[in-house]
């Protein structure tokens, strides 16, 4: 894939890129379908329930049925909504979610774009989804949607800062923003992966990432029980499906990014396990992170807005900046 990107763009190449994009889209849609199913199963089990088990064998077609239901629902647009923005918002939310996947490397050789500012690209694009959420909330002309949108803007801006600063430590240790090189530089033993030397950064990153995903315990923009559904309260059918899709594609993206940045990407935890293909290790770590997200959703209650802001600005930001300084001191004293 990398070699093709170096070539001049011809019609044949463009078609090839398009086909790879479609394949990735199909994989991501499959992931989203079964992530939702798996989430419901895991949360069910953790609440002493069985979870969906009626549609298809072991309930495997439950998400498919849900999506089919969403797609055949009536598409409503409130009369006083800002029509253009209302239609634009779901697409604007989804496009960056899918576009950030381009820079994720899966193994040494399996990757899409090998950009030397890959991490920056990821962070920059994922910020655009915030605009889409605010836009959706504003365009709905509904107080709950607007509240959800405003909360979302406040939350995502507050947590984007510690999220980015927490990975600065990793960037300093690797000396690159290229995700493939960052994953490649992590060692063969699991304690040589970034999450041990960068444990502070790792913890801050995980907390900020959960907040960026708008998932429990930081799901204030949606807050089913207080804001009805937050910014997508007026959305139905296909447009609502797009917002949900965005959310789960970001789960995919964050799980992959955490794996690449902190958990050694495709590296085996021990050198004698390297005969197992790297993609298997990547998928294992990736699945664990996805499971972890569902796990905390089943465990923790939603926090209050003031607690959210306090945690973001008073705890995570200083800690992540401290991490940057500690990393700098360490590199200056021991590595140079």
């Amino acid at each position: 894939m990398g070699a093709w990107l170096e070539e001049t763009l011809t019609w044949g190449n463009a078609l090839l890129f398009f086909l790879w994009g479609v394949i990735l889209l199909a994989i991501v849609l499959g992931f989203v379908t079964y992530a939702i199913f798996f989430e419901r199963k895991v949360i069910g089990w953790m609440q002493y329930r069985i979870g969906p088990n009626r549609v298809g064998p072991w309930g495997l077609l439950q998400s498919v049925a849900d999506i089919a239901k969403l797609l055949i629902k009536e598409d409503t647009i409130p009369r006083k909504a800002d029509r253009v923005l209302f239609i634009l918002a779901p697409a604007l939310a989804y496009v960056p979610a899918f576009a950030v996947l381009a820079v994720i490397p899966y193994t040494q050789n399996l990757y899409f774009a090998d950009i030397n500012v890959g991490l920056l690209y990821y962070v920059a694009l994922s910020g655009i989804s915030t605009i889409a959420i605010v836009l959706g909330g504003w365009a709905s002309n509904n107080k709950y949607a607007l509240l959800g949108g405003m909360r979302s803007a406040a939350q995502m801006i507050s947590y984007e800062v510690p999220l980015v600063i927490s990975v600065v430590g990793v960037i300093m240790m690797s000396g690159t923003l290229n995700l493939r090189s960052i994953a490649d530089q992590q060692g063969d033993w699991f304690w040589q992966w970034n999450f041990i030397p960068q444990i502070i950064g790792f913890v801050v990153f995980v907390i900020a990432a959960v907040s960026e995903l708008n998932r429990t315990p930081f799901d204030l923009p949606e807050a089913e029980s207080e804001l009805v559904a937050g910014y997508h309260v007026e959305y139905s059918g296909f447009r609502f499906a797009f917002f949900m899709l965005t959310e789960y594609v970001y789960v995919y993206a964050i799980a992959a990014l955490t794996t690449v940045l902190f958990l050694g990407g495709w590296h085996a935890p021990f050198p004698f396990l390297t005969w197992v293909p790297g993609i298997i290790w990547f998928l294992l770590k990736f699945s664990f992170i996805v499971f972890f997200l569902f796990w905390i959703r089943a465990t923790l209650p939603r926090i209050r807005v003031d607690q959210l802001m306090g945690l973001g600005w008073k705890v995570l930001l200083p800690v992540s900046i401290l991490n940057v300084f500690l990393t700098a001191v360490y590199l200056e004293l021991f590595v140079k």
């Binding site: 089990w45 953790m46 002493y48 329930r49 069985i50 796990w295 905390i296 465990t299």
Partner: protein, 151 residues
């Protein structure tokens, strides 16, 4: 902070714990014996004493008796017996007063239907409602007949 990990531990443990759900519509639920479900009525035991209809707080029982077809026997036999389950509150009073235990409670509780008319159950239906019949029908403060009590 400690609480966070404790909570995560609890949820992780309950992941594999025994589930509390039942497959109810697929597998019927057996109620405890003292459950007050839809009545079962046995016409042969009924002596048309009318006590059930009189004690019923919602007046949902209507019954009609007729003279015994066997001319040598005295008394009446039941002709029609209807319970209107739109208003029956399953209070157990009719079964408690019944001297012959012609009407008894069962463990059945599924009455949902698409029409109110279907809730009007007649003698034949109540007679056929003979599954999960309550075993011990006079246990509340009643002297045990076997021990020589009044019964």
């Amino acid at each position: 902070m400690k609480g966070l990990f404790k909570g995560l531990g609890v949820t992780l443990k309950s992941l594999t714990d025994k589930k509390v759900t039942t497959s109810y519509p697929d597998v019927p639920i057996t109620m405890p014996d003292r459950y007050r479900g839809i009545q079962h009525f046995e016409p042969d035991k009924c002596i048309v004493c009318n006590q059930c209809a009189r004690i019923c707080p919602t007046e949902c029982i209507t019954l009609v008796g007729k003279a015994n077809p066997d001319p040598e026997k005295k008394g009446k036999v039941i002709d029609t017996y209807d319970i209107n389950f739109e208003i029956c509150i399953l209070c157990d009073l009719c079964t408690e007063v019944c001297p012959t235990e012609a009407i008894v409670m069962t463990g059945n509780f599924e009455l949902a239907s698409y029409s109110r008319d279907e809730l009007f159950k007649d003698l034949k239906w109540l007679d056929e409602n003979n599954r999960n019949v309550r075993q011990d029908n006079n246990n509340i403060g009643a002297p045990n007949a076997a021990k020589g009590g009044a019964k």
